[in-house]
């Protein structure tokens, strides 16, 4: 691209920010292991997260085997079932999705998209990954300690979490709590980087309102996480003390296995408040980056500017702020003051407004767009569908009277899998198909990708739609087996078996995706620097994959927002953010 000055307004003053001095390692180890390059750290985060995610996927398969075919598998006992439920839930939510969205995509995309050479504190960023890895190893170690991992459910409610009788009450729970504490410390290091990089390291011309929505989503999610994770930290510390030293922060006076324990006076409800003060924002920590990325995917692949950019940003802020004041909707059944419940029901329903705005805006962006049904686009549309589904059942559950009978049934499991498992995972897949060419320089195979999409999308619906119905029938969650229960018709059991078969197939099909990742890395079609014709800065780097330092000798200067697609009167159907204004009319002048 030629840099020709057109008129005075194009004049670019010399940079005010000094060039960052990057640490340039010489050895292989310095480059790929103890790396301070955010892009390498991002890959490390992603691979680790996906690896534990696979463990969690296998666990869910085992759980489904038990639910579909009770009395068949002798290696699944009630205890191990609970352990698998717990580990599956915690790994998926924290160690996979949070780490992948913020540590993985955050690290890769933030510096590139804001036009920085790297994160502002590269060393801290590196330590962040290693602390995360340590947390993962601690968690995995709990499979091998006496008593195995904890079976308390991912919500870790005391008193049961640390009482004998719950699997893993001696070692497992401690490892879980300590691992979470380390995760939080590691995340805080990374989080400081993401926030400060967005605030302070944007290149010239990149105002906050010119940031791609991906960055907005990750930015707000990080702020939420920085404020909410301390609540989990506090509860981990206090529960560890309760368990190891016999304090009574959460533990009431209690008789366990016929014995009066030394505890007394503690408040399990206090734990629930602390846990959900973290737990609800956690949903948005996962959802907001997904919102952001999906906005960009839709805009790029529909060749249209995002509808209502400003509204999208405001909605992200509103959702972020509101999500800190809705936590007690997870505690409707805890016997709280009805007025309290009323307050939280209202805030919960209010949060639906900005969320709905976002959904409308996605749909309106698609409306009469030049939709390219590429694999990323398919996943993006899959996300919108799934999110609407999960959001609607969320409106049910947000009302106290509806929630009471449905709480702790399969209906809840179906709801939250739709909204915070399937939907974000759709975005993860879409984003990987979208950015893989930038990361490796090669395209992922399209046919395999389409197959992967349809199998995953249809499969997820086959798994989770029937689960709503099972919940209405009254099938409880976290139950090892239903036995002979009168209220369940025979068909419910066959339905369960059917769900299991589909779940196993969908799980197995993910192998196709992994195969595609590896195969395309060596054999994929070379992609060039900007295969999708996207405007954002990461696609304008001189090298693909970008080298350490991202942008070659000079940093890009930004002249426009990130959504100049199909601008009338311009030859190309997109204008990169760093293209000076005069050049946009080049097409016209030449003809």
């Amino acid at each position: 691209m030629a840099y020709v000055a057109h008129d005075e307004s194009d004049y670019v003053p010399p940079a005010e920010v000094e060039e960052v001095e990057l640490y340039h390692p010489k050895t292989f180890i310095g480059k790929y292991i103890w790396s301070q390059d955010a892009k390498v750290i991002a890959i490390q985060y992603s691979i680790t997260a996906i690896a534990v995610g696979l463990v969690a996927l296998v666990l869910s398969g085992i759980m489904r085997l038990q639910l579909g075919y009770p009395n068949t598998f002798s290696f699944i006992t009630p205890g191990t079932y609970l352990q698998f439920v717990t580990m599956h839930g915690m790994i998926m939510v924290i160690y996979l999705l949070t780490a992948l969205f913020l540590g993985g995509f955050g690290n890769y995309l933030i510096p590139l998209m804001v036009g920085a050479r790297d994160m502002v504190f590269p060393y801290v960023n590196m330590v962040s990954y290693w602390v995360y890895l340590f947390a993962v190893l601690l968690l995995m170690a709990s499979f091998f300690v006496p008593g195995g991992p904890t079976g308390s459910g991912w919500t870790l409610y005391p008193p049961q979490a640390i009482l004998e009788g719950t699997p893993g009450a001696s070692w497992g729970i401690i490892l879980m709590l300590v691992s979470l504490a380390f995760f939080i410390v590691g995340f805080t290091m990374g989080g400081l980087n993401y926030v400060v990089t967005v605030l302070q390291a944007r290149t010239r011309g990149m105002t906050m309102m010119r940031l791609p929505l991906t960055v907005w989503g990750i930015f707000m999610a990080t702020i939420l996480a920085l404020l909410a994770f301390p609540a989990l930290f506090v509860s981990c510390i206090m529960m560890t003390l309760d368990s190891l030293l016999g304090t009574s922060f959460f533990m009431p006076a209690i008789v366990s296995m016929g014995q009066q324990l030394d505890y007394g006076g503690g408040s399990p409800i206090l734990f629930q408040h602390l846990f959900w003060f973290f737990g609800h924002p956690e949903v948005y920590i996962v959802a907001l980056p997904a919102f952001g990325m999906v906005s960009d995917l839709i805009s790029v692949h529909a060749r249209k500017n995002i509808f209502g950019y400003r509204m999208m940003v405001w909605a992200i802020l509103a959702i972020g702020a509101l999500s800190l004041v809705v936590w007690a909707h997870h505690m409707y059944v805890s016997g709280m003051n009805p007025y309290f419940g009323f307050f939280f029901a209202i805030t919960t329903l209010v949060i639906a407004i900005p969320t709905a705005i976002k959904v409308y805006n996605w749909v309106l962006t698609l409306w009469r767009g030049n939709i390219h049904l590429t694999v990323p686009m398919l996943f993006a549309i899959g996300f919108v569908f799934t999110f609407i589904n999960g959001g609607l059942t969320g409106l049910f559950l947000g009302n106290v009277t509806v929630d009471l009978p449905l709480s702790d049934t399969m209906f809840v499991v179906a709801h939250f899998h739709m909204v915070m498992a399937v939907a974000p995972i759709m975005v993860v897949f879409g984003a990987i198909y979208h950015w893989y060419p930038k990361i490796t320089g090669r395209m992922l195979n399209d046919t395999l990708g389409k197959f992967h999409f349809w199998a995953t999308f249809l499969g997820s619906y086959a798994i989770y739609y029937p689960m709503h119905y099972l919940g209405f029938l009254g099938v409880p969650r976290r139950y090892y087996a239903m036995g002979n229960t009168d209220f369940l018709p025979e068909s419910a059991h066959s339905l369960n078996a059917g769900i299991t078969i589909v779940a196993l197939i969908v799980g197995a099909i993910q192998v196709v995706f992994l195969y595609n990742l590896v195969w395309s890395y060596f054999k994929g079609k070379p992609s060039g620097g900007n295969p999708w014709g996207a405007t954002t800065l990461e696609w304008q780097t001189p090298d693909t994959p970008p080298k350490h330092g991202n942008f070659g000798p000079t940093l890009p200067v930004v002249y426009r927002w990130a959504y100049d697609y199909s601008v009338p009167g311009v030859d190309e159907d997109f204008i990169p953010q760093n293209q000076p204004p005069g050049e946009k009319t080049r097409g016209l002048e030449e003809t």
Binding site: Y11, F121, L192, V196, G205, L241, R560
Partner: protein, 222 residues
């Protein structure tokens, strides 16, 4: 939990307020709203990143302490809460920490004026008073222990140990940075090289002083 709620709301309000003062109400799709040179000035602060980093970290620490304090209030409603006789030495400790903060402030002023001697004195005295404070806190633990309040004796003493330990750990973290800065000063670095570190330490110390005053008031009042 109301406290945590209020604090979180305040932090979010600050963030949103700041963002609104930014360019949140501009229309980015209209081309050429600003020539580039104005854009920089209004888009990012001209602060060094570490300063902003410290600010963000303080927000996280505020959230952490606010949550502990919320937990304290909720747990205090339990019937088994015994009022503690707080050790007298806490008053002395408070004075020591105040002095520490004052000397850090002096180091900062000296650094701004470029007086290396003032920086040296301020840093040394500030660090010394902080160590004295920590020693005093250990002594307070000793006294509590002697009067029969161990960890896990009563929720009041549990919280006492927990909160003071947490605060102490934050100070230790600060002392680590203080140690590196002081070593630099002694190895003959210019004032300009340490000005920023001195300033960051000072802000951090003031923050921890305020946290301590709040915690102390809380411990006294119950």
């Amino acid at each position: 939990m109301t406290i945590a709620l209020v604090v979180a709301a305040a932090i979010v309000a600050i963030i949103v307020g700041w963002l609104l003062r930014q360019t949140l109400n501009t229309k980015p799709w209209i081309e050429q709203q600003h020539p580039i040179e104005n854009v920089r000035a209004e888009s990012a602060w001209s602060l060094p990143p570490v300063k902003v980093g410290l600010g963000v970290f303080l927000a996280v620490a505020t959230s952490l302490f606010a949550l502990f304090i919320s937990a304290y209030f909720m747990r205090r409603m339990g019937a088994d809460w015994n009022t503690l006789a707080d050790p007298m030495v806490l008053w002395w400790n408070t004075a020591l920490l105040c002095l520490g903060s004052i000397y850090f402030q002096r180091a900062r002023t000296a650094a701004q004026r470029g007086q290396i001697d003032g920086v040296k004195v301020g840093l040394l005295a500030g660090g010394a008073f902080t160590f004295a404070f920590l020693a005093g806190q250990l002594w307070a633990w000793q006294q509590l222990n002697a009067s029969g309040f161990y960890l896990a004796t009563n929720p009041a003493s549990d919280f006492f140990y927990l909160l003071t330990a947490l605060h102490g750990l934050h100070l230790l973290g600060g002392l680590w940075v203080w140690g590196r800065t002081t070593a630099k000063v002694w190895r003959g670095f210019e004032v300009a090289d340490v000005r920023l570190s001195v300033e960051l330490c000072t802000v951090y110390w003031h923050f921890l002083l305020v946290v301590w005053l709040i915690l102390f008031g809380l411990l006294l009042s119950t």
